[in-house]
Amino acid sequence: MSLTDRVLGDRQRLAYIASQAADARLNVELETEGMTLNIGPQHPATHGTLRIIARLDGEQVVWAEPSCGYMHRGYEKLAEVRTYPQVTTLVNRIDWLGSFANEVPFILAAEKLMDVEAPPRAQHIRTILFELSRIANVSLFLGDLGVQMGAITPVFFAFRDREYVLNLIEGATGGRFHPNFDRIGGLKDDLPKGWIAETKAVMKKLRTFCDQIEDLLFGNEIFQSRTRGIGVIPRDIAMQFGLSGANLRASGVDWDLRRDHPLPMAWNKIDWKVWTHPDGDSFARCWVRLQETREATKIVDQLLDTIPSGPIMAKVPKIIKVPEGEAWVSTENPLGEMGYYVVSRGELGPFRVKIRSASFNNISVAPWALRGVYVPDIITILASLYFILGDIDR
């Protein structure tokens, strides 16, 4: 039990003791004993190297604790020995499924310190690519959801249709996974010829994909019985644990940085909707993500229609030196709120960068949500919380 003492707070320890006392008589009669199951670091359900220590009583979880850090790559420290333009290659790899979205808040923070703003066309293209990386990210989540619950077909549809989005990102930036396209003051290049028409066609395909997933998975009775009422995270608990993104909106909190934060991006120029769900269970989280993918395709469509002409790069010096100061910028990334706190001392590179990644906070609610559930529900709840290992460990 030394592990229990180390990792559990007082409240959880008391709850554990209480539950043990309640089961004590039964345990004495049946002579059962608990079992500690290490799920991970190498496990098919953790898409990476997350470890979950679960204390089981039969199939029921007495307590569970995620243990992270197996994929720590030290990006905050590495950023200190890079120049500002070089940092984007690092932060690309934090949430590897929606890479472009990781670059944007860092660049915005640097721009804020330098007091430059990207021209409107660059802002538009940034927003389009941001939403495309959201679609690429969340569409894979929607497919993966089936795999976590044993339906292996949706993931093939997801990979098929994500490919179109990746091709678009590659067409515009040259990189499928790690575009490294965002520059302080604008973008590296303009959009290639024919890209807009192709993007519109792909957005139509993605909406069909969303309908397919809704039919195949969300309408399935087994899926519903596995997710409805499972892993309920109430509104106040979600706020206390610092959840963000779709996880928070699924708990009924109407909060979206794209709408609520005034950023030099194009979201406020178009008409779109923030989806929320009052239930806070696994189904709500999945449903909100599905709706957001649909909404993102509509956002992209509208942005493509209203894309202004003009330069894609503001006037910035060749060698970028960021003036002394501190800046915090966060955006609504595919996984939730992602922010960079950049401290500059007027040098070529940042003095200190603190990265606030969404998954780290989202996964921190797991011990609370996993108490008393069955082993299969561990996977459902973790899948619906949706984390990327790179985003947890950075």
């Binding site: 199951l37 098919p44 795999v147 087994i222 596995r226 082993v375």
Partner: protein
């Protein structure tokens, strides 16, 4: 069966021929064809091509994979109970082979014409639980243990609705002999109309559905695949197996799917036969001899159909949770199949 041969074959020769026949009739169709057909079918459902390299359109994929697995190292975990660990896959496979012994493929093409055939089939099919439990316990792995225990709970729970669904057929046919069940279906008539015979899928439709759900669970295919739930338990009771021991489990999985499909087609689809009224036959003795050749083909066609349904469900459903599965077995399937038995008995007495 032996009447087919001109010379009298001694008993040991008959036994040898039957064993060889069993291997050819089970391993080839129930292994290769089911495997390749299902993998191609599954691939098309998932909008991909599937195996394409080994042989024309990947038809020799199973051979290639057997070759791959035979090359792998045979690992036995240090803390495993080695003897039981080695025995477990064989127990699972043997239960499949025992099952096929009573399945008739034609008027004379059977391995054993057993009077209580279906009783025997259901009894030996539950032997596989033993093998799975042995594998789960002997592996000295927590995932294996959880998988093995889940499998035991699940297979015992779904054995019951399966037996109860079969009872309806037995009442209607009035026999437990699988050969006579086939004859009863093909020589029967539905309310005087004998153009289709009387395949029990029509008159025992409830039993058919319950039986299909139960074999889905018995085969541990999705949505009842908790024992091997790869996203939770890595691979359940198979986690620690590698090389040819894993291969045996793997062949066992597909061969059992094939054999249960055979059993379903015997019980509900009329087995090897065509409606006897088409050719003016009256009973099994008047059936033409060429049915011994055509029968197995008809049988395998029906088996593929059933295997297709099993895999179709498998590839499109998420899995249940353990408690939901038990609730479904005890609160839905068993009452429904009991009601089916009551109705069947009433019709049998009244009509």
């Amino acid at each position: 069966m032996m009447s087919m041969f001109a010379v009298e074959v001694p008993y040991w020769g008959q036994s040898l021929l039957r064993v060889l026949g069993g291997i050819v009739a089970v391993l080839l169709p129930a292994g290769t064809i089911v495997y390749v057909f299902l993998f191609k079918m599954m691939s098309f459902m998932q909008s991909r091509l599937g195996p394409m390299e080994a042989g024309p359109y990947g038809s020799l994929q199973l051979v290639a994979e057997v070759g791959k697995w035979l090359q792998k190292e045979d690992i036995i975990p240090e803390r495993a109970d080695a003897r039981i660990f080695k025995m477990a896959p064989i127990v699972v496979l043997v239960s499949t082979f025992l099952l096929v012994a009573v399945v008739p493929f034609g008027p004379d093409a059977w391995f054993t014409n057993f009077e209580v055939g279906i009783f025997y089939a259901l009894a030996v099919s539950s032997l596989s639980v033993l093998g799975i439990l042995m594998a789960g316990w002997a592996s000295a792995n927590k995932y294996s243990l959880l998988g093995g225990l889940r499998a035991a709970g699940q297979l015992i729970a779904y054995e019951l609705p399966m037996v109860l669904a079969v009872i309806g057929v037995v009442i209607q046919a009035g026999t437990m002999n699988l050969q006579q069940i086939v004859v009863a279906q093909n020589s029967g008539s539905i309310f005087g109309f004998d153009g289709l015979g009387n395949p029990y899928i029509f008159t025992q439709f409830v039993g058919f559905v319950v039986f299909m759900i139960a074999i889905q669970a018995e085969l541990t295919q999705a949505p009842f695949d908790m024992p091997i739930a790869e996203s939770e338990l890595v691979s359940g009771y198979m986690t620690e197996y590698s090389g040819f021991r894993f291969l045996i489990f793997f062949i066992g999985e597909f061969a059992t799917a094939g054999v249960f499909s055979l059993l379903t087609s015997v019980l509900f689809l009329g087995g090897w036969g065509v409606p006897f009224a088409w050719f003016g036959w009256t009973d099994v003795d008047s059936v033409a001899n060429w049915m011994n050749v055509v029968g197995p083909v008809i049988m395998i066609t029906k088996m593929m159909l059933i295997a297709f349904i099993i895999m179709w469900v498998r590839f499109s459903s998420p899995r249940f949770r353990e408690d939901q599965l038990q609730r479904f077995a005890w609160k839905v399937l068993i009452p429904v199949s009991l009601g089916n038995i009551a109705l069947t008995s009433i019709f049998k007495v009244v009509m």
